[in-house]
Point group: C2
Amino acid sequence: MTRGRPIAFSPDEAANAAMQVFWSRGYESASTRDLLAAMSLSRSSLYQAFGNKEQLFLEALRRYRESLVGRLGRRLEASPSAVDFLASLFRETAQEAGSDRAALGCLIFNSASELGQQDGLPSQHARQSIAAITALFQQAVERAQAEGDIDPDRDAAALASYLTMGMAGLRILLKSGSDTHQAGQAVELLLDGLRR
Amino acid sequence: MTRGRPIAFSPDEAANAAMQVFWSRGYESASTRDLLAAMSLSRSSLYQAFGNKEQLFLEALRRYRESLVGRLGRRLEASPSAVDFLASLFRETAQEAGSDRAALGCLIFNSASELGQQDGLPSQHARQSIAAITALFQQAVERAQAEGDIDPDRDAAALASYLTMGMAGLRILLKSGSDTHQAGQAVELLLDGLRR
DNA sequence: CCATTTAAGGATCGATCGTTCCAAAAATGG
DNA sequence: CCATTTTTGGAACGATCGATCCTTAAATGG
């Protein structure tokens, strides 16, 4: 069956460790030394198992996106009210203000900001990940409209863009040291605009 | 009076050129080679005139902030309506969608996202620059309240945070390839929340 | 026109970057 | 137990990083 020496690390755990490094340091600033240390494997193993730094980042971003969208999707499904789901999501994020978690930001928005409109897969995948977040917000808005909490005549796609803009901006506020009061106030105003 | 050979470059133009490099490439990714090429001076002259890369960045960020805040402050003063100033500012920014200008983003928000809560002056100055933008928005909101366009009972500081969050998010939308339609819709919803 | 002072050019520094490569180690199948 | 296969550890690669330093060029004051 399997010939030769078996690998001594968990590819899954290694990829998650790499994700953490990219999350806290950014794509370019994360050195292979940082990655190797956090992943607890040797240089050869990294390149053998993940190709190179770019491919490792794509894998990390993919995991982050699927984890985030999956988690939020399940939470939306489990929530009795789509508008409550959105409100609690934004309020809980604002409550992170001042924490280490808040300083990290969101890997997707971090990457979109760092990579902008560059050529290449990392930038492209970051942009697609933002589109995935917007799509999830649109699902929530449409459900809230069906539930009578948002006027069905309002444009769900526009509201979704508004929410993505809000979350991206909130992440920047938190990264720039906004406190829970300031972030909370901004989020309440954002949510007022949602329910109108 | 002035002894020795005079400098052959304009420190002002050189600093502006450096600002452009940091703006398009980011703080860490901007190499001294990039900076030297754009500033059209020699290595010695850069270190002689600006100290080092960090100090040059601080100077570039200071210029950007003062230019931006100064320009917006004058535009606010010249505007007959503070709420119109805010609306046109956000609308014009959304209209940049798809352009090279939109891909650049804003040096202040870019730097805040890149540097986060790091120790050191660059991060600190980026955060202070965001505070300066919020202060300008608060001025505009307070004037709009005095002009009867915004309910004076509403919290001007909270609205200012809301606007900073909105602008930061808008910059991310534009960086991630949002088109003028999508960005425009999000901005209109943001402005609805302002005037309520 | 010479001595002095400062800028400009560029070689060079040690450190670090991402990546490759090779030999040693550790597993398997027969 | 040996041949084979694959992983592992780490040396080494060329490129680039920010920064320093020394020589040369170009200005001024006397």
